[in-house]
């Protein structure tokens, strides 16, 4: 008995002692960590010192967990963060400013805190920069290129860093993800950009290649201003205000891109072409947008084999002439096409799922042209509130009555009878609801029928036959 009690007492005593000891140590630990936080200038190792010590051609491997910016790189260096190093920058300068040709940045995580102006995580002012596997969270711009040719920007992730205790920043107030000005021969590949103003902004930058990027929830996914001879392909955009905003360009090639669900804003489009000349837009998929493809003041372009599916308005022309619109598929759009002052386009052989065709010579092309009635568009252009009458019986009736100047309406001279099997494919594979058909229609009907039969029999047995 007694010995047991002693043991318990001893244990209790030890526990008490331990607690006391901990209490004594804890404040000192706390104080230490406080000192670390309050210690300004921060005790983080400076990347600038490493850069200053390095010789041109060196590779700097970042072994510490965290570094402090800003850094100016003014010699040819390779900086490798191995995917783990974090560079944190609180100054308005760019976290990394590249001023020498041939600099490579790889595997660095950058936190760019300050907002406003052209504050950017990476600012490149020299040629032949390579930026790879860089993860950027920024309250300003992501990557800025100014007079920097032959840049390669690939596999980076750029997203918005919301400032503390502020409400949601409007898209227009944010910085661009990747922003080029007067920088040519670029390659922008496999980047993921979300929640910025423009995902990729190109101005006065020619002969580049933008491919396989993922662009989400930004104002414009890709925004071109005065760009020439550039290829934009295999990019994917979702939930942006507009997927691709292509303005003031010529000789560019936009193909195999997918822009879906651009519909959150009253002015959303999948692809917008404004003042686009002599360019090719082909095999793109625009699905579930407010407007699939919008084309204004653009000449001599080819729109070929695009799949325009489930948009509110499939394609919209405004003062766009001499364009070739061929072999596109228009499926399940609320309004297939609208056109104003756009008579002279060569529109032939597209598939319109609501067109009533008649194929007399069995060549797959309808002999009845399909004319696009501009009545509704003209009406709402003057008074947008008339959209309230969309597809009301009166509006449909008036549209049908309207035949003014019919020979100048945008018309498909020979609509295709069948959907292009190739362009139907991506539409199915990108089905957003993820509906995978497990059952064939026949088995489905069979199951329903047998279920019905079963319930009928049960009802008869329990309520009908047995009682009488």
């Amino acid at each position: 008995m007694r010995s047991e009690r002693r043991v318990i007492f001893q244990v209790l005593a030890w526990v008490l002692l331990l607690n006391l000891a901990l209490l004594c140590i804890a404040p000192s630990v706390l104080a230490k960590s406080l000192a670390k936080d309050a210690g300004l200038p921060s005790p983080l190792p400076s990347l600038q010192q490493l850069v200053d010590r390095a010789q041109p051609g060196d590779t700097i491997v970042l072994t510490e967990e965290k570094y402090a910016g800003p850094v100016i790189v003014n010699k040819k260096l390779k900086i490798d963060g191995r995917g783990t190093a974090i560079l944190s920058n609180d100054t308005a300068e760019a976290a990394i400013r590249i001023q020498a040709a041939g600099v490579t940045l790889r595997g660095i995580n950058i936190l760019q805190h300050p907002a406003g102006g052209e504050s950017a995580a990476i600012a490149v002012h020299a040629n032949e920069a390579i930026l790879e596997d860089v993860k950027i969270r920024t309250a300003g711009f992501g990557i800025l290129l100014r007079d920097a040719d032959h840049a390669a920007i690939r596999d980076n992730v750029i997203s918005w860093l919301p400032a503390e205790d502020t409400a949601d920043t409007k898209l227009g107030q944010k910085g661009n993800g990747i922003d080029l000005y007067n920088s040519h021969h670029y390659r922008i590949e496999q980047n993921t950009i979300a929640g910025m103003r423009d995902g990729i902004y190109l101005e006065n930058s020619h002969r580049g290649n933008v491919n396989n990027n993922r662009l989400y929830s930004s104002r414009y996914g890709i925004h071109c201003m005065y760009v020439e001879k550039t290829q934009i392909h295999n990019n994917q955009g979702e939930f942006n205000m507009t997927g691709a905003m292509i303005m003031g360009v010529r000789d560019i090639h936009v193909y195999d891109n997918v822009f879906t669900k651009q519909s959150s804003n009253v002015n959303s489009q999948g692809i917008l072409l404004f003042d686009v000349q002599n360019s090719v837009i082909e095999r793109n998929l625009v699905e579930g947008n407010r407007v699939g493809i919008y084309i204004e003041l653009s000449k001599d372009n080819q729109l070929i084999e695009n799949a325009i599916i489930r948009n509110f308005i499939g394609i919209q022309f405004k003062q766009a002439e001499d364009n070739k619109v061929q072999a596109n598929d228009f499926v399940a759009n609320v309004i297939e096409a609208e056109a104003t002052n756009s008579g002279e386009n060569e529109i032939h052989g597209n598939y319109w799922d609501s067109a009533q065709g008649l194929d007399l010579n069995n060549d797959g092309i309808s002999e009845i042209p399909y004319a696009i009635n501009p009545f509704y568009q003209q009406l709402i252009a003057k008074t947008p509130a008339f959209q309230l009458f969309f597809q009301s019986p009166g509006m449909t009736f008036l549209s049908d009555m309207y035949a003014d100047d019919r020979e100048h309406w945008t018309t498909d001279s020979g609509p295709r009878m069948k959907i292009n099997p190739l362009s139907a494919m991506p539409a199915l594979s990108s089905g957003d609801a993820g509906e995978v058909k497990v059952l064939s229609d026949q088995t489905f009907i069979l199951i329903i029928a047998s279920l019905l039969l079963g319930t009928a029999i049960i009802t008869i047995i329990y309520s009908g036959v047995s009682k009488s």
């Binding site: 040719d149 107030q173 000005y181 007067n182 006065n204 804003n265 002015n267 404004f274 000349q277 919008y294």
Partner: protein
């Protein structure tokens, strides 16, 4: 008595009618969520480059760049304009188009690259031009003779540091002239002259591209 009330009613209606007659065409606030440029379809940012026309029937047309407003005026005429507004570069206050002072330089970056910013007084315009080191100061009347060229510069400027202020401005301007045609085509897209202008601009671009190759 009856005459009195009749007179009062008459006076009231008259004054009401007079009040209605004096419609003010006030500038509306920019709403970035819904406002897009009437001409170029870009979002109108709530910044100093935004401009606005309030028509006589009270409709507000917003533009993201002064150049787009100019394009609209050329296409639609000025008869139906109640008031046209630009913004002060510094405090973003709406000012009447005719009363503002403008600074133009090809190197000033604006949303549609027309390179013109507006100020409420000449002093602040001059201060801006001084700060930038470049910039031609223009009044609203002088803007009527402006070429409205967009800076769609195809030349590579490898040797200048910041494009905020070019040193080789002479060369730049000379180059800009050749692009005047291109800018005009922005204004009159469906004019008959369009084809010619476009071809010329295109040739020029080709020429530049060749130059480009030569340089590298």
């Amino acid at each position: 008595m009856k005459n009195w009330s009749l007179a009062i009613i008459l006076i009231l209606t008259l004054s009401l009618a007079a009040g209605c007659g004096k419609t003010k065409h006030e500038a509306q606030a920019i709403n970035e969520d819904v406002d897009v440029c009437v001409v170029c379809n870009m979002q109108v940012k709530d910044d100093a480059f935004a401009t606005q026309i309030v028509t006589k029937d009270g409709k507000s047309l917003k533009f993201d760049d002064l150049g787009c407003m100019n394009t609209w005026k050329q296409e639609n005429g000025v008869d139906n304009i109640g008031m046209d507004y630009v913004r002060d570069y510094n405090d973003k206050e709406w000012i009447e188009f005719d009363e503002a002072t403008y600074v133009y330089d090809a190197s000033i970056r604006t949303p549609m690259a027309y390179g013109i910013v507006s100020f409420k007084d000449k002093a602040s315009a001059e201060a801006f031009a001084k700060e930038q080191g470049v910039g031609q100061i223009l009044s609203a009347a002088e803007l009527a003779n402006h070429s409205w060229q967009q800076n769609q510069d195809m030349m590579d400027h490898h040797d200048h540091g910041e494009h905020g202020a070019h040193e080789e401005h002479g060369a730049h301007e000379e180059h800009g002239d050749t692009h005047g045609e291109e800018a005009e085509h922005g204004g009159e897209h469906h004019g008959d002259a369009h084809d010619a202008a476009h071809d010329a601009a295109h040739d020029e671009a080709q020429h530049d591209a060749d130059n480009d190759k030569g340089q590298q």
